[in-house]
Structures are given as structure tokens and as C-alpha cells.
């Protein structure tokens, strides 16, 4: 019982309660921008928060394709990252609720969180719901975390380098011939140090990607060359795991504009994952094909596959799935981010018990 002997329902008359939960009122609440688009990404609804932030009238936006509508926003320079994020959404639409934080330059707001989700109500047309919330504090903390990771990783890398060098000198005979036990123990140290160095490098990559400081050195190249180089670098892993890598390339592949080292990093990551999960005496297949205006690479293994409820999480940071093999938990997050920086996309298809295929596409240079 409440102090005045009334329950909340009695204090608030029911008609008022009903009015308060009118969808329009909730949608217009200050803190949240709402946008509804149809299946073709044409805007069907925006609330007042979106209109205020965009400085547009409903007529400017309704019925327009999301990307066209953004170009009508008077101060879209402040929303450049948001624009890129929305373009990416329309290129690879969300299949479930997804959310990301993007930097913006709005009065008093430095970051927005964009939630996106598809809806398919039975009997109605399908579409997408986007919600924008202020995430300034969250974004600032995230920035601080990224800076911390970057500084800490740099600081850790130097001593790691000395440890690794010292072990290699000892194993190389600097202090004379070592007893077999010492050699074995130093071998364990070296493997562990190598793993730590990989983790530190991955952390540095992630922090660069998240802070937008990852620079790509783009040049015209043929993805097949990167595939061959990655295959060479993984030859010994393939031999140890008794797995063969089979490569298939379309005969006339268009070139792409890409950063050779980074593209090799992506391919090496996918191939080494496939090698790790492939059963012995099986094949890992890498295909490079020209599809419409993109070059598509797929890496398929005949491993155990990924459970359907976990497929959506494979690209998340530090996401090591049940039964995952040793790794940093960052490789796929980095690989996908690198592909997206090349204006491409990456996705996965997996069937439990049959195997997994990772795909990525990068725009081909037109006119080839």
C-alpha cells in the first residue's frame, strides 16, 4: 500500500496513462531519434528528434532513399561518419538487432549509437527500424579505452622483443650447447612470447581501426597474388595439420585497389582459421572469383561448423566460441574491419557438421 493509501494506477487516471503511452509520444521523446524505412530503404517515418537533428522538414526526407535523404541534410559534414555507417547498413542490411557507435559533431553530442533492426510483421510489408541515441559518454570512454590499449600495447611490445631476442640467441647457441631440457623449455617460452606478440599486434590493429588511425596504402593489385603469398606463409601449418589448401581462381580477374599487406593479413587470417578447424586429410578451398563489380574471395573448410546461435557473433571482438582453438579472439574482427575499410564486406555461412565458408568482397576497378 502507498503512503496515501492509493496505488499508482489510482493516482494516474487511466485515460492519461493511455495517452502517455501513445506510440507517437514515446517516439518523439527528446532522447531518441526514430526512423523507419521500407525494404528498399525508402524512409517511411521519422520522428521530430530526427527532423530537429537533421534540420529538415518531413517533406525533405519522407519517401526518399536513406542515402539520398542524407545528402539533403544541410550540415551533413557533421554527420560524415554516420553517413558512412548508414551506407554500410544499406549495403549489408542487418539481419537482427545490431548497434554501433559513430562519432558526430552535433551541439553537445560527440557520439551517437545507431540501433538497426529488420522487421517482418506477418501480413505487413517488411522494413527496417533505426533508432539513434546519444552515446557521448559511452563514446568518450571508448576512446579512452582505445588510447589506453594503444599505449599499453606499445609499452608491452618493447620488452617482448627483448625477451624473444634473448631466447632466440640462447637457442641459437650464444651460451654454448644447451641441455635438451633447457632447449625444450626455451622453446615453450618462445612459442608463448610469439603468441603474446601476436596478441599485442592485434590489439594495436584494433585500437588503430577503432580510432580511425588505420591508414591503407592503396595500390592496384590482383588478389590472386595475395592468396599465393598467404598460402606460402601457411605451408608449414598446413603440413603440420595434414590439410591441403586448394586454390581456384577465375581466369580473368579484375584488379582491385587495396593495401597489399592488409589484404594478405585478411586472407592469412581466414586461411589459418580454416586450417585450424579442418580435420586432417581434408581440403581447405580458397576461391577467387569476379562477381558483378566485385572480386569475391571465399575460404571453405570441412570442419565442425559453427552452431547457428553463435554464427552472428564470430566477428565480435574477443569472441571465442565454444570449442574455439587458441587465438587472440580479434583476428576476424580485424579482418572484417579491414575489408570494410576497403569498401567491401565480409560474411560467414556455416553448417553444423559440414563446414564453414567465410566470404569477402572488394570492389573491382571498373573498366577492366
Amino acid at each position: 500500500m502507498e503512503p496515501h493509501g492509493k496505488t499508482p494506477a489510482e493516482i494516474l487516471p487511466n485515460p492519461l496513462l493511455e495517452a502517455a503511452i501513445q506510440p507517437e509520444m514515446i517516439l518523439d521523446m527528446e532522447f531518441r531519434g526514430i526512423l523507419v524505412a521500407d525494404a528498399d530503404w525508402r524512409i517511411r517515418y521519422v520522428n521530430r528528434t530526427v527532423l530537429r537533428a537533421a534540420g529538415c522538414s518531413p517533406e525533405d526526407l519522407l519517401g526518399e532513399h536513406l542515402i539520398v535523404a542524407i545528402n539533403k541534410i544541410p550540415h551533413r559534414g557533421a554527420l560524415e561518419d554516420l553517413q558512412h555507417a548508414l551506407v554500410r547498413l544499406t549495403v549489408s542490411p542487418p539481419e537482427r538487432v545490431e548497434s554501433l557507435i559513430v562519432p558526430v559533431r552535433l551541439p553537445g553530442r560527440k557520439f551517437l549509437r545507431v540501433h538497426s533492426m529488420p522487421f517482418r510483421p506477418p501480413g505487413y510489408a517488411s522494413g527496417y527500424l533505426l533508432a539513434f541515441t546519444d552515446a557521448t559518454r559511452e563514446g568518450e570512454i571508448d576512446e579512452m579505452k582505445t588510447d589506453f590499449i594503444s599505449v599499453a600495447s606499445h609499452e608491452m611490445r618493447t620488452p617482448m622483443t627483448s625477451i624473444k631476442g634473448s631466447i632466440e640467441l640462447l637457442l641459437g647457441g650464444y651460451a654454448g650447447e644447451l641441455p635438451a631440457e633447457s632447449t625444450e623449455l626455451l622453446g615453450i617460452c618462445l612459442t608463448a612470447v610469439d603468441r603474446l606478440i601476436r596478441l599485442i599486434n592485434d590489439l594495436l590493429d584494433i585500437s588503430k581501426i577503432e580510432s580511425g588511425k588505420m591508414e591503407l596504402h592503396l595500390a592496384k593489385l590482383n588478389i590472386s597474388d595475395c592468396v599465393h603469398k598467404s598460402m606460402r606463409s601457411l605451408r608449414s601449418l598446413a603440413e603440420v595439420n595434414k590439410v591441403t589448401i586448394q586454390a581456384k581462381h577465375d581466369e580473368r580477374l579484375p584488379e582491385v585497389m587495396a593495401d597489399r599487406d592488409r589484404l594478405e593479413q585478411v586472407i592469412t587470417n581466414l586461411l589459418s582459421n580454416a586450417l585450424k578447424y579442418s580435420p586432417a586429410d581434408k581440403e581447405v578451398l580458397i576461391r577467387v572469383a569476379a562477381v558483378d563489380n566485385v572480386v569475391r574471395v571465399s575460404v571453405s573448410d570441412e570442419g565442425p561448423g559453427i552452431p547457428p546461435d553463435q554464427v552472428g557473433r564470430v566477428f565480435d571482438r574477443f569472441q571465442q566460441l565454444a570449442g574455439a582453438k587458441k587465438g587472440t579472439g580479434l583476428g576476424l574482427a580485424i579482418a572484417r574491419a579491414l575489408v570494410e575499410q576497403h569498401r567491401g564486406r565480409m560474411w560467414v555461412e556455416s553448417e553444423l557438421g559440414l563446414g564453414t565458408s567465410f566470404y569477402f568482397e572488394i570492389p573491382a576497378i571498373s573498366g577492366e
Binding site: 611490445r157 618493447t158 620488452p159 617482448m160 622483443t161 627483448s162 624473444k164 631476442g165 634473448s166 632466440e168 640467441l169 641459437g172 650464444y174 606478440i197 599486434n201 594495436l204 591508414e215 596504402h217
Partner: protein, 129 residues
């Protein structure tokens, strides 16, 4: 070219030590150490080496500026310079080569092959000259 004396400038003491041990062990070169660019210039002037290894990021005077000053000094400009750099600075160091260095090595280096890699860079330079 014959190498007898190497001057290594690197601000991290442990890395300096490992590199020194590695070069002396694998090649028999005499390795003198400097912990920053200023010290490197002073030691080079005092006893000119046959080769200078320069870390790019150092306090007081970084590797690039040290290289630039070495190349302006008539008594030192003939000494080949090789940069030592982290992978992340690879693009930057490529630009740094225009300052007159003969090449660069990526850290972390393998101490068992460091001397061989240096010899390879120097041989490539000798062939070009």
C-alpha cells in the same frame, strides 16, 4: 665492403644489448652503443665506425634527424646508415630513406639473422654503386 666497427643507436637498453650480443656473436663485429641521436653523433665523430644502425624513434634527436646531420658532415657522410624501425612505422621510414640511409630493418628482428640481413643490405648497395 668490410665491416669491423658498428655504432648502434637505440633508446631501449634491452634491445640495444640483445642487438649488440647478436652482432658480436654472429659476425664478430665490434659494436659500440648510443642511447640517443646526440650520443650517436658524438661517438661517430670521436671514432668513426664502418656502419651506423639508427633506431627511428629516440629521445633528444630521432633517427631521421641524426641521419640528416650525419649526411651533412663531410667526415661522416660516407658511413652507411641503416634504420631500425617498428612495422607500424614502415611507411614513414621509406620516406626517411631519402635522407641518405641505405636501407631499413623491421623490429622485432631475429638476432640469429640480423647480421646476415645487414650484410645483404650492404651488398645490395655495393652492387648498385
Amino acid at each position: 665492403m668490410e665491416i669491423h666497427k658498428v655504432l648502434l643507436a637505440e633508446d631501449e637498453e634491452d634491445i640495444r644489448k640483445v642487438a649488440q650480443m647478436s652482432l658480436q656473436f654472429r659476425s664478430g663485429w665490434k659494436v659500440t652503443l648510443a642511447s640517443n641521436g646526440e650520443e650517436c653523433l658524438a661517438k661517430a665523430a670521436e671514432d668513426p665506425p664502418d656502419l651506423i644502425l639508427l633506431d627511428c624513434m629516440m629521445p633528444k634527436l630521432d633517427g631521421y634527424e641524426t641521419c640528416r646531420r650525419l649526411k651533412l658532415d663531410p667526415s661522416l657522410q660516407h658511413i652507411p646508415v641503416i634504420f631500425l624501425t617498428a612495422k607500424a612505422q614502415e611507411t614513414e621510414v621509406k620516406k626517411g630513406l631519402s635522407l641518405g640511409a641505405v636501407g631499413y630493418l623491421i623490429k622485432p628482428f631475429n638476432p640469429m639473422s640480423l647480421a646476415a640481413e645487414i650484410s645483404q643490405i650492404l651488398e645490395g648497395r655495393d652492387e648498385r654503386n
